[in-house]
């Protein structure tokens, strides 16, 4: 396995794609073929199933480079699984097929998400050298002044970004609703969604660019300031303004998301209700406030919470805009920075704090989604 990957790694990148995808699809086809053929009744197929149960786990562990006793254990477990399947209530081969469908996903999820989550919880209690130090990492996080700035900034991000993106997105969705060229207008605001945070940050770096007053400005913002006779400002050096200017980038990206989702919700508002309100002599503002808003409330909440989660997790913007600017750190970025400084324990502590901050919002979001579905 390792040798194969090493060999593929030496090829030109574009050649690696067809090879690895081909190998993967061949493996997937093999699994589907087994699922298809092996569960059939008959002696021949029973033997095939038994062989598959024994050979596949053994082979898998061999490919991972295990020692022999581990391969042996895998083979024995495979045999036991064959017996379990043979005596299964749903008929021979049912569990075999089921495992064939589910095993790839479950193995990957267990290795890549379940185990790491618990490992990170544990790591957050260890020092960088791996000694158990209890909650010292968390004490460190909350006792350093620069970390408190990081936490304060994160809280601002979670509060400011969702509110502005949603408000602007909603206003825009309402304004362009049913207008001519609605699709085109939507694309204009939606387009930043396709741009990476790195790309977006570079775009905005040029907007905020600063040159000393005796030279021509090349950033739009300072260009406007000087056009109106002001002195150019070194925007990203201004605390606390710089944090908010970084938030603008995320607002710029997320407004499109809010707009599309809310626009779909607005189109779902029953026309009869709007017309009835119109007959009652209400004005546009009253109709918006009393008819539209209540009926898109679930969508509004989901948009707000989703963007809050995004604001908690985004780190690319702060990193790409330049870490040299004072007091702009946020948790998600601090976590990666510490990791790259090999401070795994403190980094894990930040990851856990991030998880704890995300958790309530996600649960609220999930419940809201469930409610929306029940109403439907």
């Amino acid at each position: 396995m390792k040798d194969l990957l090493t060999w593929i790694g030496t090829l030109p990148p574009l050649l690696q794609v067809p090879i690895i995808v081909g190998l993967f699809l061949a493996a997937a086809a093999g699994i589907i073929l087994l699922i298809e053929v092996a569960p059939r009744p008959g002696r021949k197929f029973t033997i095939l199933r038994f062989a598959a149960c024994v050979v596949i786990p053994g082979l898998a562990f061999l490919l991972l480079g295990s020692v022999w006793w581990a391969v042996g254990v895998a083979v024995v477990l495979g045999g036991l699984f064959f017996l379990l399947d043979y005596r299964s209530r749903e008929g021979k081969g049912y569990i075999f097929a089921l495992v064939g469908f589910l095993a790839p996903a479950f193995v990957l999820l267990l290795i890549g998400l379940v185990y790491p989550t618990f490992a990170t919880l544990w790591n957050s209690l260890l020092s960088n050298r791996g000694a158990f130090i209890g909650f010292d990492n968390f004490v460190w996080v909350f006792s350093q002044p620069q970390n408190l700035v990081v936490i304060r900034n994160t809280i601002f991000w979670v509060l400011v970004v969702p509110v502005f993106s949603t408000a602007i997105g909603l206003a825009y969705a309402v304004f362009i609703d049913k207008s001519r060229g609605e699709k085109f207008f939507k694309v204009l605001v939606f387009m930043p969604m396709a741009i990476s945070f790195v790309g977006a940050s570079i775009i905005w770096r040029f907007v905020y660019d600063y040159r000393p007053a005796d030279r021509d400005q090349i950033g739009v913002l300072n260009g406007l300031v000087t056009l109106f006779g002001g002195d150019p400002v070194n925007w990203l050096q201004q605390v606390p303004l710089n944090s908010f200017l970084l938030m603008v980038v995320l607002i710029w990206v997320q407004t499109g998301f809010a707009m599309v989702v809310l626009s779909a919700a607005i189109k779902g508002v029953p026309i009869e209700q709007v017309e009835a309100a119109q007959l009652d002599g209400t004005n546009a503002w009253q109709r918006f406030w009393n008819v539209t808003i209540p009926s898109i409330r679930p969508s509004l909440i989901v948009v707000l919470t989703t963007i809050s989660i995004a604001a908690l997790k985004v780190f690319d913007i702060v990193r790409t805009m330049g870490t040299a600017y004072p007091d702009t750190g946020i948790i998600a970025n601090e976590m990666v920075t510490l990791l790259q400084k090999f401070e795994a324990g403190r980094s894990s502590a930040f990851a856990v704090i991030l998880f704890l901050l995300v958790l309530p919002i996600v649960i609220f979001n999930a419940r809201q989604i469930q409610k929306t579905r029940e109403i439907r």
Partner: protein, 311 residues
Amino acid sequence: MTTSIVANPALPESAIKAATRRTKQRLTSRGATIASLVIAVLWTIPTIGLFLTSIRPEVDTLRTGWWQIFVNPTVTFENYGNVLFGRDSLLGPFINSIAISIPATVFPLVIASLAGYAFAWMKFKGRDALFVLVFALQIVPIQMALVPLLSLFSRGITIGDSVIYEGLRGAGLFSQVWIAHTIFALPLAIFLLHNFISEIPADVIEAARVDGASHGQIFFRIVVPLSLPAIASFAIFQFLWVWNDLLIALIFATGAAAPITRALAELTGEFGQNAELLPAGAFISILIPLVVFLALQRYFVRGLLAGSTKG
């Protein structure tokens, strides 16, 4: 990238269109028109500015703002030539991005559609609980998984002195990134595809079963062809997500495997150094997602409206 379940994806597009047509009219009022124009302009100018910067000669870019192009229109594609073929070319990272994104889109799609089928159409004990568990994994921020996964890749697993898994130890250029992206995509992919697959009418599946089709056949002959729209929208989603990702690239795509996002982020780090490559480089990195997005927007929006949180 984050998304969520919101509007009614079941509402056919034709119905929305009909309703729109019925009441098509001018923008609601003059104030609203102006406001929406202002927003549209504000949202477009930064990107246009970057594009114009990227096609101006370097000397001009350093001295005057991009809006001067309207006064003094000199256009050059030299910057693009430099970015692609010059010293410190970004062509390599650009190709790396392609080499990372395509497999990292195909892998989770196949694995998740298999699992999605089992969750939707096979009965087993604890199915619902297990599905909720998979859904719940979306809660875990990727940040939580990074450190242990990295050490798993580099050190493997050992019990005592016995090696269970030897680790990748840098084997293969992109293997770590592919695997990491595949794993982190799975919860959302399974959730999305399951929702779609489970809405295939039970009659269709039952009829096939009565005719003697096994699970493998049902999956291949019925479920996959019928779920193509969902597969397409997830594929676009995942492609954009992987292409635009920086976090996983920073941790798992080191050295020669660095994709363009990482290469650009590194350019912004070293102050002044090669900064002239930034506008054209950024624009090249934006180009592919933008084309994919504009060409397949319909599927993207559908995925957005039916999706959930990721990351």
